[in-house]
Amino acid sequence: MYRSHVLVCGGTGCTSSNSPKIIEQFEAQIKEKGLEDEVKVIRTGCFGLCALGPVVVVYPEGCFYSEVKVEDVPEIVEEHLLKGRIVQRLLYDETKAGAQEEVKPLKETDFYKKQKRVALRNCGVINPEDINEYIAYDGYQALAKCLTELKPEEVIQIVKDSGLRGRGGGGFPTGLKWSFTAANKADQKYVVCNADEGDPGAFMDRSVLEGDPHCIIEAMTICGYATGATEGYIYVRAEYPIAVKRLEIAIAQAKEMGLLGKDIFGSGFDFDLHIKLGAGAFVCGEETALMTSIEGNRGEPRPRPPYPAVKGLFGKPTTENNVETFANIPTIIREGAEYFASMGTEKSKGTKVFALGGKIKNTGLVEIPMGTTLREIIEEIGGGIPNGKKFKAAQTGGPSGGCIPMSLIDTPIDYDNLTAIGCMMGSGGLIVMDEDNCMVDIAKFFLNFTVDESCGKCTPCRVGTRRLLEMLDKITSGNGTLEDLDKLEELCYYIKENSLCGLGQTAPNPVLATLKFFRDEYVAHVVDKKCPAGVCKDLLQYKIIADKCRGCTACARKCPVGAISGTVKNPHTIDTSKCIKCGACMETCKFGAIIKE
């Protein structure tokens, strides 16, 4: 028995800010103090509060130490682990209870209070590289229940009753999808887990794979049993090395314990799993493209029908679900469909994980019951917008999605509400933008992405998105006309209606949504030739306010092209014909004398 556990976040965010060195240092210090039999150091998955990483949590007290540096480790070991005194200066502010030796439970902080963890239940709790810890938290119980007590059709019925819908963005009822594959007879069927998380700025699936890989293995095996498949593939981005490594470890451990492979739980059911590495193609998130890629080809989508449930991977009936969808399955089976269906709204049950990023204080991973409003997520859980800036919009669904403006911030989030306002749930990227972000520029950013990622198979997407981008370029460079805005909209609808797969059908969404809610910004670019947010360079001019300029010459010395002239102690001026609008002068000026407009 250990008297203390030190949990160090080993997610990608914290790993990038040095958590592996912190773990090493903890182990060395603990050994030096002779505490190795009393204190255990565990590398966990993501705690969710990435903004405060690297995160270290010490139990049994539940002290949440944030932004820990390697140099802080000796103090934590000496003070906390040896002498039992909490290191107040490193505590997450919200958990400070006032009294020296007390901490407020994490569950009561604004960030965690409104969250409900189902898909993320083990992330930041267990060591993902140890199957015994997963089992200790009821792991593989759901699989045992399915294989020993339930018939395949009963498993499907439970999933149907739970109301679970696909978390990859589409929102298709999962139980129904399973029943389609189950209904087809074939000598071989497959289960595929889509872990090709392509939305830039979203990392829900990665965190589940890194923090709780066994739950995906368990869920895929259950799906295999329910649909009659004996082989599964996890298609994961090669850019997620930690997730891949933990999956490999987890699969090996599950096989060793007989939880994967031949005759699982003595039930006679066989199931085997393979990992396939993606190679960075956004379109591979589309299910038919993903299967084409697993087969070793360019990941181009196939026309549907035939649907994968009839003719999928290697031409066999296939069920494909996203990581987060699978992550909900063990809980649904273990706790029952009613438990799951008790959370959420009428047509969207359960919870949804969002990767909260952009202009928000608490960047990180949050899991909320469906029906929570955007305001609650941003203002309460997210801690609001930093630097006193004003909220402008939240972007969901990445390059396929839209944006939610201030006027709709109280919309309860679920599949149907978001679709109704011309937005979409998406896979869970939630990027907050403030007054300094230009919505035309954001639309252009996403179009740049889709132009790059369009596979080229169908013309509306390949050519159409490029024309859209050119029109946006024209607008942001100050050459657009009002007529262009109408043309832009017309082309958007054309691409949506005529593209082969989801990528093209949704690629115009960022343009349509920004046109709908922020048309005035487009008009400002076109008519006034101004970028209200001060982002689009071609429409900007840097100016020196003569009254504020002290003539310190700092800006003139900094300017890389010699566009600033003036004598010492006299106001300077910028030659706009020379200026390359790099902004170096504005950053240098200590008196706030340089503005852009």
Binding site: A51, P200, A238, G299, G357, K359, G398, C582
Partner: protein, 164 residues
């Protein structure tokens, strides 16, 4: 995706050739392993020279155009070598809204090269990537395995100096 094709003459060491032969031999006969072989080959050489693609095509018994087709389809495969220090700037949405484009622009200015290019001395190569998933650290850039988070354009000079 448009890719730059290297003009540098190809040469490899016997060890590299041996490793490549081994992985081809292991996977020959299973066309669905093509991407895996190409991923391993890129690990061995750092990129996929034409000669390596040809060897894979012959060894796996697939048309060369298929290998080339796969190599040009996926962002991960490079057709030109990376620099000694491979710099990558995240242009994921979370980083972009926090100004990573400015970081990339500054790197281009400082290094005198564009994105997806390599300096003449082979020291630095520059690329823009789509989300490395460290959104809490936005904007983020990486130099080989070193991660730099919460940076701005003015930090670029100092970071590059560490590798000079």
């Amino acid at each position: 995706m448009l890719k730059k094709i290297s003009q540098i003459p190809f040469s490899d060491t016997p060890e590299q050739a041996k490793k490549l032969d081994a992985i081809i031999a292991e996977c020959a006969g299973d066309e669905s392993q093509l991407m895996h072989v190409m991923q391993v080959a890129q690990d061995i050489y750092g990129y996929l020279p034409f000669e390596v693609q040809k060897k894979i095509a012959d060894g796996m018994n697939v048309p060369l155009e298929k290998v080339y087709g796969v190599a040009t389809f996926y962002a991960q495969f490079a057709l030109s070598p990376k620099g000694k220090y491979a710099i990558s700037v995240c242009l994921g949405t979370a980083c972009y809204v926090k100004g990573s484009q400015g970081v990339l622009d500054e790197l281009c200015t400082q290094l005198g090269i564009g994105a997806e290019e390599c300096t003449a001395d082979g020291k630095f190569s520059l690329s823009a990537c789509r989300c490395i998933g460290a959104c809490g650290l936005a904007p983020v850039m990486t130099v080989n395995d070193d991660v730099y988070g919460k940076i701005s354009a003015s930090d670029v000079k100092g970071i590059l100096a560490k590798y000079a």
